[in-house]
Amino acid sequence: MPQQANQPLPAGYVLNGYRIEKPLSSGGFSIVYLAKDEAGTPFAIKEYLPSSLPLRTEGVEVIITDEANLSVFRHGLKCFFEEGRALALIQHPNVVRVENFFRANETCYMVMTYVRGRTLQFHIQRNRAEMTEGFIRRVFANLMNGLREVHANKLLHLDIKPANIFIAMDGRPVLLDFGAARITLSEEAMKLKPMYTAGFAAPEHYRFKPEELGPWSDIYSVGATIYTCIAGTPPQAGDQREEKDKVIPLRTLAKQKYSEDLYDIVESCLSVDWLKRPQTAFDLQKRLMEEPPEEKRGFLETMNIPLSKLFSR
């Protein structure tokens, strides 16, 4: 991810009634801040600020002097609007909720509910042993509720990966960062430059033929995310797999026991041929919620590990 070279807003700065506390994260296209409104309610505010353009070396105003940069900036702004549009449509406990959207400092801001917790990526990196079969099945079956809602609104997320899945303090998975999301039926949105993360994007995503993208493309990314939970690293990138498939079988990478059924689920999600994947989030959810027949007891046991254990030090 490119380094954000731009100056973040200073702590204490009051932005449209929200007081900035601190930057939470910064990525290629934005900085996310923790901020509080007048009542003291915390929010996560995402500021559109492409890191590749020098826009704010001092102060708070975004200043664009160069015409070429302005064109790039505005193109990215379109993507930011797509994200706002996408999220505004969705009200679901497993999808991050957008509360406000406004313009200030010559750029745009998206105010989202602040969820306490950590990303799935953090959990994978901290302790892969937490990634038991029961945990994986529960988290992803839950997450499919959110993804079903996304797809029901004719949206594709298109950037599902461990860093974009938040595990709230209560164990609830929340789908974050709709920066790559596209309204599938809008031609305008499909013309925007695709964004993807190597290893998690489906093979058809690299080709960027809009007509090939569908819920099955998000399903591939979910498969790659589960793969990462078990293996600790993402699978070989989709575009390379089309040339020469060298995905290391999960069975050989697992550090603990998982059922054959779970391996099969991940494998089917990661099919290069999208017709061989579960076609909808609901299909995948059903398969995750079915108990693997041969290992019923083991699976129930792992299900019984208290959630609190997951978050203990």
Binding site: P2, S52, D66, E67, A68, N69, L70, S71, V72, R74, H75, L77, K78, F81, G84, R85, A88, L89, I90, Q91, V98, E99, N100, F101, F102, R103, C108, K191, L192, K193, P194, Y206, F208
Partner: protein, 302 residues
Amino acid sequence: MRFTIFQDSRIGNRDGNEDRVAYSYSRDVLLMTIADGMGGHQQGEVAAEIAVQEITRRFQQEARNKLRRPADFLVSAIQTAHRAIVSHAVEQNLLECPRTTCVACIVQNGCAYWAHAGDSRLYVLRRGDLAAATQDHSKVQQMIDAGSITVEQAARHPDRNKIYSCLGGVVPPQITSGREFKLEDGDTIILSTDGFWSQIPPAILGPMLRKQALVDLMPGLMVEAQRRANGESDNLTVVAMTWEDQEDANVADTVTLEEEQFATSTNTTQQLDDGKPSDDVTEEDIERAIAEIQDAIRKVPR
């Protein structure tokens, strides 16, 4: 100004030519530029095309009379070209930004100025000797500078094609400018892509230029460069100029050009106009999008 100029670009043994070249001059200023679109990246020839066109366009826009600050102009024009390539990639939804090397040279008031990014080269040859040259932004050049390999080893090094500065791509190009170089009668400035310079070292070029005039020598030398590559020749491109005796009436003088007239020659195809970036997000679009989003937020029950 009196000079003779030669330009040629050959496909070599490749399927397409990703090199672009142009020169353009008015009464008082000459521009020469070359770009080598990078293979292995999407649409290398497009990047090269944009680079040469943008630099030529800016030259013709700003050099109606003379360039006020030629060295600054070159850096700025190369940066413009870089941004134009990035904008093109954004507009065309390219997964990867096309890339190209670039070297450009200005001659004005009897002085030469140049700037480059990547491994396309410029040499100045004076009485058969190399008087000035660009230093490639390449991995092997770094290794030569560090003393870990010799020039001979570099020519065969597996990483000899790796460069760390180019136009297009995520990182803005690192551009190196040459110092102002006072030309003497008979000096030759030669710009070339690696397809040419990798086969014809300056040690061969210099002595041959002493014996033969540029325009007589170069066509045969292009053929020789390709032949030396043994059927594996990269695209090869050269634009070169010999600074003639300014009093020599046998050489055409640019004074014959009308004011603000340019003589130009290029192998670019001029087909990129419809791909030019257009800034189609207006203030109203922004306001409307925000209103829509706020409306949607209000409509969804909380």
